[in-house]
Symmetry: C2
Subunit: 472 residues, 2 copies
C-alpha cells in the first residue's frame, strides 16, 4: 500500500501548507482516522441515467464506498464513503443570475476533486461562485465525518465532523465541528465549533454560537481519536441496517407511487408510508415514517417514528425522531430533532428549522407554525431565546439579538431568501410535479444504472483505483 500511504501524506501536506497562516495542523486529526484496510474494503459506485451528462474521470485515487452521480473528476484524492452528487450541476447555455450580472454558462459544469481527503462527506448542488461557474472544485481539502460541501467551491481547507459549508466559496479556512457557514465568500478564517452563520453581504447577517460544553455532549472532535458524542453514536447504532443494502447488486424494491423515488441504497424499515412525489435519497434511513406528498429525505437523514404532512424538506444529514411536522416544514442540514415516545415534538406548518439545530426534549414540545428555530432547544423555555415568528423577523431592519443569536440587516430579505430556497429545493426534488410539468429528482432519479468499481487488490498500488474514464 505504498502508493496509498504516499497519497495520504501528500494530501495532508498540501492542506497544511494552505493552513499555515492559521497554524492548523490537520495531521493529528486525520492520522489513523480511517484505517487503510478500510480503504481497500469497500467498492465505490456511480450512477448512469439519460438525464445526467456523463463524464466520470477517476485518477490515482481511493474511492472506498463512495457514490457518484453527475459529472465528476477525481484526481490524487481519497474519498471514503462520500457522496458526490452532481445532479444539479449547471448546463451549457444556462444563464446564471447574480445581482447586476447575467452570466451565460459556457460549458456543462463538472465537479473536480483534487488532492483532497473526504470522509463520509456529502458534496452536492452546484458552484454558486460566479467566478467559477463551470467548475465546482474541491482542492487541497480535508473533510471529516458527515460534513456537507454544498454548492461551495473549496480550496486549502479543513472541515470538522458534521460541519456544513453552503453556497460559499472557501479558501484556506478551518470549519469547526457542527458549524454551518453560508457566507458567499470566505478566506483565511478559523470558524469555531458550533457556529451557525448565514450572511448575505450588504443584506443580512445571522450568527449563533453553541455553548461548547453542551455541544460536546452531541459532537466532540479532538486530535488522536475519532469524533465522539451522541450524533456519532446515533449513526453508528444504525450502521448495520445499511450492510444488506450495500452487499447485494440488485435490491428487491418496495413499491412506491409512480411519481416517487426510493433510492436502492436507502434503508426502509417497516411501517413507512411513501406518498406521491416523495424523494428518498441514498443513505437515507426511514423507520415507521409517514412521508406526505412531496416530502423528501435527503442523504444521511434519519426519519424515525415520525409523520411529515407533505412538502417537507429534510436536508442532508438531518434527523427527525418521534415528531410530527406540518406541511412545508423545513429541517436544515444535520439538524437533530428528537422527541420521545411519551413526549413528541410537534412543529407547526411553514416553520423553518435552521441548519444545525438541536431539539432534544424530555417533555412534549409544540413549535407554532411560521416560526424560525435555531440552536439548542431542550425545553419549551429555550424556545423563547431560540425562535422567532417569521412575521416578527420580517419586520426587523436593524441589529437585534436573542440569547446567543445575533442578527443584523433586513429580516425580510432573510425570510424571503429562505422561502425562495425552500421552494427551489421542493421544485428540484420533484415535490411539485403535477404528472406533466415540474419533473424533479423524484421523477428523474427513479431509474439509475449503478456500477461498482474497486481498487487494485494487492501490490504497491493496493487500494488505489486504476484510471477510469466514463463518457457518453
Amino acid at each position: 500500500m505504498k502508493a496509498l500511504t504516499e497519497l495520504f501524506d501528500r494530501i495532508v501536506q498540501r492542506v497544511n501548507i494552505n493552513l499555515r497562516e492559521l497554524a492548523f495542523d490537520v495531521r493529528p486529526f486525520v492520522k489513523d482516522l480511517v484505517p487503510f484496510n478500510q480503504l481497500v474494503k469497500f467498492y465505490a459506485f456511480y450512477g448512469i441515467t439519460p438525464h445526467h451528462p456523463l463524464d466520470f474521470q477517476f485518477r490515482h485515487s481511493n474511492l472506498a464506498g463512495s457514490y457518484f452521480l453527475g459529472k465528476c473528476r477525481t484526481t490524487n484524492s481519497i474519498l471514503y464513503k462520500s457522496d458526490i452528487r452532481g445532479d444539479e450541476l449547471k448546463k451549457k447555455g444556462d444563464i446564471f443570475q447574480y445581482p447586476g450580472f447575467e452570466i451565460p454558462v459556457s460549458k456543462d459544469e463538472g465537479i473536480r476533486i483534487e488532492d483532497s481527503f473526504l470522509i463520509k462527506t456529502l458534496v452536492h448542488n452546484y458552484s454558486h461562485d460566479p467566478e467559477t461557474l463551470e467548475k465546482f472544485f474541491i482542492t487541497n481539502t480535508v473533510s471529516t465525518h458527515y460534513a456537507n460541501i454544498h454548492g461551495s467551491p473549496t480550496d486549502g481547507s479543513y472541515l470538522g465532523p458534521f460541519s456544513t459549508v453552503d453556497l460559499t466559496t472557501m479558501n484556506d479556512c478551518v470549519i469547526g465541528a457542527f458549524s454551518y457557514v453560508q457566507a458567499s465568500e470566505i478566506s483565511h478564517l478559523n470558524i469555531e465549533p458550533g457556529t451557525v452563520w448565514v450572511r448575505s453581504p450588504n443584506n443580512f447577517n445571522f450568527l449563533y454560537r453553541y455553548p461548547l460544553d453542551k455541544l460536546s455532549h452531541y459532537i466532540h472532535f479532538a486530535a488522536g481519536a475519532p469524533p465522539q458524542g451522541l450524533l456519532m453514536d446515533f449513526v453508528e447504532d444504525r450502521k448495520e441496517a445499511f450492510q444488506r443494502v450495500f452487499e447485494k447488486v440488485n435490491i428487491e424494491q418496495v413499491s412506491v407511487p409512480k411519481s416517487a423515488s426510493l433510492d436502492r441504497f436507502a434503508v426502509l424499515k417497516p411501517k413507512t408510508h411513501i406518498s406521491d412525489n416523495v424523494l428518498v435519497a441514498q443513505r437515507a434511513f426511514l423507520q415507521n415514517a409517514w412521508m406526505g406528498k412531496g416530502a423528501n429525505a435527503q442523504e444521511n437523514c434519519y426519519i424515525i417514528n415520525a409523520r411529515l404532512e407533505g412538502f417537507n424538506v429534510t436536508a442532508h444529514g438531518a434527523k427527525i425522531i418521534e415528531a410530527d411536522l406540518g406541511q412545508n416544514v423545513f429541517v436544515g442540514f444535520n439538524s437533530f430533532l428528537r422527541g420521545r415516545p411519551d413526549c413528541r415534538l410537534t412543529i407547526g406548518k411553514d416553520s423553518i428549522i435552521m441548519p444545525h439545530t438541536i431539539i432534544d426534549i424530555k417533555e412534549p414540545l409544540k413549535i407554532p407554525p411560521d416560526h424560525l428555530v435555531w440552536g439548542l432547544v431542550t425545553c419549551a423555555a429555550d424556545l423563547e431565546t431560540h425562535s422567532i415568528s417569521l412575521k416578527a423577523l420580517s419586520k426587523i431592519n436593524d441589529a437585534f439579538s436573542l440569547g446567543s443569536m445575533f442578527f443584523e440587516g433586513s429580516g425580510n430579505s432573510f425570510v424571503t431568501a429562505f422561502r425562495d430556497r425552500i421552494h427551489h429545493i421542493l421544485e428540484a426534488n420533484g415535490a411539485l410535479y403535477d404528472g406533466m410539468k415540474n419533473k424533479g429528482h423524484a421523477q428523474k432519479n427513479q431509474n439509475i444504472s449503478f456500477n461498482t468499481i474497486q481498487p487494485y487488490p494487492e501490490g504497491e498500488l493496493k487500494g488505489v483505483y486504476p484510471t477510469i474514464i466514463i463518457r457518453p
Copy 2:
C-alpha cells in the same frame, strides 16, 4: 431502445455481407434469440489485478452479463453473458516462436471485438496468428450459445452453439453446432455441425464427423428457435445455482488451500474437495467433486459426483458426471462425459478425451490409461471405433481410418503436440506451482477486484453502455 436495435441490425448486416459467398443468412438464427429486455437486465463486470496490464475500452456496445479480465476493447458490439478472458495475452518483448521464425511482440497484445454479437461465448488465450500477434481481433462475427473462440482471430464468421474454434485464424466461415476446428488458418468454409477437425499443415490431419441424427439428441439448432437438446437442458437445469452468485457483491468464500483459486463467480455445491494448485474458473459448477492436486475446472464446465485424481484439465465447457478420472486425464472443450450412479465412467491416467467428445453410458465403462478417445461413445463396443492407444497412434505415419474418424500424417507429431499442449495448460493454470516457481492462474487469479457496469436504463440509448475507459 432505438440505438440497440440499430446496433443489432448493423451487426447482422455486416456478418451477412461477409458470408455472401456461402449464401448464409445469419438473421433468422439470431432474430429474437436473446430478447432485448434481457440485454438491459444484467450487469457486466471486469476484473483488476496487478498481474494483468490494464486497458479496457467499451464503446457503443451492450455487454449484458459479460466478464472481462485482461486487455480488451469492445466497439459496436453486443456481448451477452460472454467471458472475455485475456489473462494469457502476450506481452511486449515476448518472442513468438513459429516454425522458421522468431517474432518479437512489439506491444502488449489486446483483444479487439468490433461489430460482433457474441452469446454466452468464451473468448480466451491469445492470437496464435503470427500475422497479428498484438491484436486478437473478433470482427463482424456472430457466435451463439457456449461457443469458444480460443486463440483464434476471427472475421466475418458465424459460430453455432457449442462450437469451438481453437488456435485458428478464421475469415468468412460458418461453423456448425458442436463443431471443433483447430486448423491454423481457414477461409470461406462452411463446416457442418458435429465436425471435429484438427489439422497441422504438412504435419497431420484428424477428422471426425458425428452422425447428425444422433447428435441432434444432444444439440440441434434451426433458424427460428433457440438451440435445443440435452446439452442445453443440462445447462438450463443448473442455471438457478448461479443466480445467488451473481446477485451479491461479495460472496462469503469457501476456504481453499493457499495455492488454489476458487473464482467468486463459480458455484461450489456440498462435498466438493479442493486440493493444492486447483483452479476453479468463473461460471464453473462443482458438486460433490473431488479435485486432486493441480486439477482445473475451466469456464462453463460442470463436475458432478466425480473424482479427479490430479493434474486433470477440464477444458472450457466440458461436463464430467458420475466419473472417476486418473491423474493427467485431459478432457477437451465442450465434452459431455456422463456416467450414472450405478454405472460409473472410469478413465485411466494420461488418457486424452478429444474436444467435443460425448460419452453417455448406461452400463459401466472403463477407458484404459494412455488412450485417445473421440466422438460419440455410448457403450464399450463404441470404444473400438472411437479410441486408440497413444502408443499405437504414435506409430502411424500414413493415412488411417477407424469408424467415422480419418487420420493422416504423423501420429507421433499429433500425440507430442497434444502432450505439449496439456503440459502448457497445466503450467499456465498453476498446477505445477511448487510454492516458489511456476505460478499460474491458480495463484495469480486469487485476488481480483471485480467491478460492475450497466447500460443506460432508459431513453434512446437504453441498453447501450456508455463509453468506459479503464487504464492503469
